[in-house]
């Protein structure tokens, strides 16, 4: 009997109830919050549900390194094997493949100059990079944190895996959180920086892109961007590859597979392991909190950058050709949420002002822009500096 009690007691010391800390509780609450926001508020549910549940999985308390291979950081555990795809930057390009296979770049093709807005909004990345340096992060870490301002989950995870693997979890969580919160973060910034008259600007309807243009775009896109910044190849190569599968017209079944089962499988595996990587014992540090704060600032600066550059571009356009500066905010990417935010704001001011298709142009350009920026940061921080 005594022996039995001993065994039970010993077993208990290995249970979650025994090993729980405040950190675990805090992270479990965060996980539940993510799931709540996803289901109730419908904020990016395809990402927040897996990440949220992953946070729960990652924060079940247990005794590490006693051979049970439970935790994501324990060699040989299932989570550890899956996390390999995150840690080595394999999953993000595969997600880009799927995104390419489901993205329609028509909006951009019909008004190519809006592509510059997707470049302007990347200013948030570099502001955050500098701020992170000031706060004492190493240059590589600062670069990885900066990319949160790119508002692009896979790009952020990819760059973090190369520059600062120790912060993948924090950076991914921050990036996805703010992407989910785009409808909350962007409107005040946009309103602050635009006049009512500007917000009322109506833009000419976009023309329809031809099939040939759509086929040539991914090819040209690949060559122009990666010749300038070869380090962006893993991301942009796959993005444009997926897009060619979609637009070629002869590889429909491959495009369908890339944009459904493939991207879904990778999203599930990436989401749950990124969530689980926030294991309280390694995640709850002052740095994580700093990263979170920097992320928020980063999104605001990026939004401002896009809007202000749109206003700057308007200086060169004659009346009737001017662009509505609000669509600059879509340059941060966060596809398609930020385009929808801009559209909603447009409707609020004038119920006949449909900005959605126009906002989609800088929106998708922002994806390319931040991937290029990630490539450049990699070159500088891994090699040149």
């Amino acid at each position: 009997m005594e022996q039995l009690l001993d065994a039970l007691r010993q077993f208990f010391t290995y249970s979650g109830f025994y090993n729980i800390t405040f950190g675990h509780v805090a992270m479990i609450v965060v996980g539940l919050l993510f799931i709540y926001l996803a289901i109730k508020k419908d904020y990016e549910p395809l990402l927040l549900v897996p990440i949220g549940f992953g946070i729960l999985i990652g924060n079940i308390p247990f005794v590490e390194n006693i051979g049970l291979q439970i935790g994501i950081y324990e060699q040989g555990s299932v989570l550890n094997y899956i996390y390999f795809g995150v840690l080595k930057g394999i999953f993000p390009p595969l997600i880009f493949l799927g995104i390419g296979a489901m993205t329609d770049f028509s909006a951009l093709l019909s008004n190519p100059k809006l592509m510059l807005l997707g470049a302007a909004a990347q200013v948030g990345i570099f502001f955050t990079f500098i701020a992170a340096l000031v706060l004492g992060f190493t240059p590589a870490q600062a670069g990885a944190i900066g990319i949160i301002g790119g508002a692009d989950g896979p790009t952020a995870i990819f760059l973090a895996s190369k520059l600062a693997p120790e912060f993948i979890g924090a950076i991914a969580i921050a990036a996805y959180s703010y992407m989910a919160l785009v409808p909350v973060i962007q409107p005040p910034v946009i309103k602050l920086l635009t006049t009512k008259k500007e917000r009322l600007i109506k833009m000419k309807p976009a023309r329809v892109a031809t099939k040939l243009e759509k086929i040539l775009f991914p090819i040209a896109g690949l060559l122009f961007t990666t010749f300038i910044s070869p380090s962006a190849l893993p991301l942009l190569g796959m993005l444009f590859f997926g897009n060619l599968l979609k637009e070629s017209g002869v590889t429909k079944r491959l495009a369908e597979t890339a944009s459904r089962p493939l991207i879904d499988i990778v999203t599930i595996l990436l989401g749950v392991t990124v969530g689980a990587s926030t294991q309280a014992t390694t995640f709850l540090t002052p740095q994580s909190i700093l990263i979170f704060i920097l992320g928020a600032v980063s999104f605001m600066i990026a939004t401002a950058g896009g809007v202000l550059f749109a206003k700057f571009m308007n200086l060169f356009f004659k009346e009737g050709e001017k662009i509505n500066p609000m669509i600059g905010a879509s340059g941060v990417s966060a596809v398609p949420d930020s385009a929808r935010v801009v559209h909603t704001l447009g409707i609020e001011e004038d119920s006949s002002n449909y900005l959605l298709m126009h906002a989609m142009a800088p929106n998708v350009a922002g994806v390319i822009g931040s991937a290029v920026a990630a490539g450049i940061l990699m070159s500088f921080l891994l090699h040149l500096v």
């Binding site: 995104i99 993205t103 000031v134 004492g136 017209g249 540090t285 002052p286 398609p336 350009a365 390319i368």
Partner: protein, 160 residues
């Protein structure tokens, strides 16, 4: 043996409960203290780090490169569009086809756009991720039907 075990289970669970409650309490206290200490001690602002890490340099060069990449691609697309339209026009002229109204003319009333965008808006208000966007646009095209005269021109978009 099992029965005596069941008799003892209350004692065990009581012990376990008080144990676990104490654990949790101590753990919370420790962690709160730790995090707050670290937070206060570790954060500092050191602007000399910018120059040290080539912050300005990297930022300016990077922004320049991002801009030039996208500008280059944008210029190519503008040029591509012009070339394609030119070649189409030339072909038409050769074959003696009547040049159709330019796309711009088609857009003048704005009614069509309103229709499209309203439809899009209605759909988008319920959508939440990239794929849905695409699907919806497809759906919209499919939904347009012969009885809507205004949109006639749109019906000729080749469905894939």
């Amino acid at each position: 043996m099992i029965f005596s075990f069941i008799q003892n289970i209350d004692t065990i669970s009581a012990k376990v409960n008080s144990d676990s409650l104490n654990m949790v309490k101590t753990a919370i206290q420790d962690t709160v203290q730790q995090v707050s200490e670290k937070s206060l001690g570790d954060i500092s602002f050191d602007f000399s780090k910018i120059a040290e890490g080539n912050g300005e340099l990297i930022s300016v060069v990077s922004m320049a490169v991002v801009f030039s990449s996208l500008a280059l691609l944008s210029i190519f697309l503008i040029y591509l569009t012009k070339t394609l339209q030119l070649s189409v026009r030339k072909k038409r002229e050769k074959t003696g086809e009547i040049t159709p109204a330019s796309p711009k003319a088609m857009d003048s009333t704005g009614e069509i756009d309103a229709a499209i965008f309203t439809a899009l808006h209605l759909h988008f208000s319920e959508l939440h991720d990239l794929e849905n966007t695409v699907l919806t646009i497809n759906k919209v095209q499919r939904v347009y039907s012969p009885w809507s005269s205004k949109i006639y021109g749109l019906r000729n978009i080749p469905r894939k």
